[in-house]
């Protein structure tokens, strides 16, 4: 169970991890500046297991994989958004950052609410408000990637058999 951090629409990857910190790519360095230009209080206060809840088009802008890496390394258990920008969506799946699409949950969760997420079933429970939501299921191919543990293990298996 974790606390919800709430963000608005069109949170871009520059807000998630500003380019001024991308002269290095170590996950812990990126985590220390995660969401800095959207909410400076996030990185110093986020706790392992917390959840990011955001509006539409989360992760728009640049292709930087540093963005999902920063969120994952900051200890965030999952991102719940109304929708995702496509490169961020691919990157998150590829590196194993759980992301859920669920506009109803976004509407039903406020900052600071205690939220439980079941990543297997996609069930989202707002413990504070005593409400449950169901995230949209992943398409079968994406589920296969997730089950393999991300793209690199998936490719490793494939190149081994080639």
């Amino acid at each position: 169970m974790g606390r919800a951090w709430k963000f608005g629409h069109d949170i871009d990857t520059d807000a998630i991890i500003p380019a001024r910190y991308m002269n290095r790519s170590e996950p812990e360095h990126l985590a220390a500046h995660c969401m800095e230009d959207a909410d400076v209080s996030f990185a110093p206060n986020v706790k392992k297991g917390d959840i990011i809840v955001a509006g539409k088009n989360f992760g728009c802008g640049s292709s930087r994989e540093h963005a999902p890496i920063a969120i994952k390394a900051a200890g965030v258990k999952a991102v719940i958004a109304e929708s995702y920008a496509r490169i961020f969506y691919r990157n998150a799946l590829n590196i194993g950052l759980p992301i859920l699409e669920c506009p109803e949950a976004v509407a039903g969760i406020e900052a600071g609410d205690e939220v439980e997420v079941d990543l297997v079933s996609g069930r989202i429970e707002n413990k504070t408000k005593k409400a449950t939501f169901q995230a949209r299921p992943f398409p079968p191919f994406m589920q296969e990637l997730i089950n393999a543990g991300g793209l690199i293990p998936y490719v490793k298996e494939k190149t081994k058999n080639a």
Binding site: S62, S63, I95, T159
Partner: protein, 424 residues
């Protein structure tokens, strides 16, 4: 039922006769690209696979352009990782500083990306190459690593949106930049999310390659997977002297299916300015008129090409940059810089009081070479005006075309170019 140019390229590279939107395919790649920010992360992932070589050393492009010439020690380390990888893997398309340019100006110029190609690049503006009639899309470092290893990637075949421009007459000083900003203003930053944006009509066919590259470059700012234009005589005139390998021209079928068709008249489009902090916040330049500016940036993968420098020089000729303004100009490649120098444009810019840089992405992403202080305002020909994009989180970036940027540099505030060109 016919196919769009995007569907044809994807089908051909997946070894299929036909694909439909929504279908997941595995396709062979012609080019896999990365830069000095995304490349080192991709190389780290590639190394996890334990492979001795890349799938094809002629089909990978590594371009150190973001923080180069290296701005600090960590950046230098990142560039070194990429250089050593390029040497070890004998990557053909790697350029050192002095020969390198801004990736999306350099690769089309060098004939490395060609019509009909399927391209992934670990940079969101990879969609630029759609102007050549290629299907090119931005990915992250891990997708790039997998591409370097296997020469393949998975794709969800996107729905296509068609943007038709009727007419060939434009308002004075209007360019490709204004067309794409106008579209983004209409459909929003997620208006083409996951989709292919196809630009068509006589209003596109009459445009130069430089303008077409600018349009496709910013498709990502509407959330698109790619922006694409059918090759025509203008495309082939650009491509033929540059191509060093075979390429294929694909065109959309007359009965191809589009999710939506948008139609515009070229004459209706005024000069655009996108206000902070999203590219969709567009207004006409007259609505932005009078806003004081601290810094002008002309260049980038969006507007760092020869015609962009030409219009800049035309406006700056015989004038002076406003005393309180910094005007920074970033030609896209060494070849562009050299040609502008030969034509006397660089001299014009320097005499006007502008700073002309070696090619780099530099300030566009708040990297280096022109960072904004708290409260400062920039007017820029780049592609994004997000919070903190060019520096301090409390600075502002406004987006426009090179003519508006150059005219505003002279006036010290946002102006329509006619305001400074009254006498010529």
């Amino acid at each position: 039922m016919g196919m769009t140019i995007s569907e044809k390229i994807l089908a051909a590279h997946a070894g299929l006769d036909k694909v439909v939107p929504g279908e997941i395919i595995n396709a062979k790649l012609d080019i896999v690209h990365a830069n000095d920010v995304t490349g080192p992360v991709a190389i780290k992932e590639f190394n996890k696979l334990g492979l001795e070589q890349v799938f094809d050393k002629e089909k990978i492009t590594l371009v150190p352009d973001h923080f180069t010439p290296n701005k600090d020690i960590p950046s230098a380390e990142q560039s070194k990782v990429m250089k050593e990888f390029a040497q070890k893997m004998e990557i053909k398309h790697y350029w050192e500083v002095g020969r390198v340019g801004i990736e999306h100006c350099l690769l089309p110029e060098q004939g490395v990306v060609l019509p009909g190609d399927l391209i992934i690049g670990a940079d969101s503006h990879t969609c630029t190459y759609g102007a050549l009639g290629a299907f090119a899309t931005g990915v992250g470092s891990t997708d790039c690593a997998a591409g370097m290893a296997t020469g393949e990637a998975w794709f969800r075949v996107p729905e296509s949106l068609k943007f038709v421009f009727h007419g060939t007459r434009f308002q004075p000083w209007v360019s490709g930049k204004d067309l794409i900003l106008y579209i983004i203003g209409k459909i929003g930053v997620d208006g083409a999310r996951y989709k292919a944006m196809e630009f068509a009509g006589e209003g596109i066919r009459c445009l130069s390659m430089d303008n077409r590259l600018t349009i496709c470059n910013m498709a990502i700012e509407a959330g698109a997977k790619t922006g694409i234009i059918e090759p025509d005589e203008i495309t082939l005139e650009y491509v033929k002297p540059r191509a060093k390998r075979e390429y294929k021209v694909y065109k959309s079928d007359p009965d191809a299916v589009y999710e939506k068709i948008y139609e515009f008249n070229t004459e209706e489009i005024p000069l655009q300015v996108a206000f902070p902090h999203l590219p969709e916040n567009t207004k006409s330049v007259d609505e932005a008129s009078g806003l004081k500016i601290d810094q002008i940036v002309i260049g980038s993968c969006t507007n760092g090409r020869l015609e962009d420098l030409e219009v800049t020089a035309k406006i700056l000729k015989g004038k002076k940059i406003h005393p309180e303004v910094r005007c920074l100009i970033f030609p896209g490649t060494q070849q562009i810089l050299l040609e502008a120098m030969r034509r006397g444009w660089i001299e014009t810019m320097i005499e006007a009081g502008a700073a002309v840089s070696t090619p780099t992405c530099g300030p566009c992403l708040g990297g280096h070479m022109g960072i904004l202080a708290k409260g400062e305002r920039a007017l820029s020909t780049t592609n994004r005006n997000f919070v903190g994009r060019m520096g301090h989180p409390q600075s502002e970036v406004y987006l426009c075309n090179p003519a508006v940027a150059a005219a505003s540099a002279v006036r010290g505030e946002i102006v329509h170019p006619r305001e400074v060109m009254n006498n010529g």
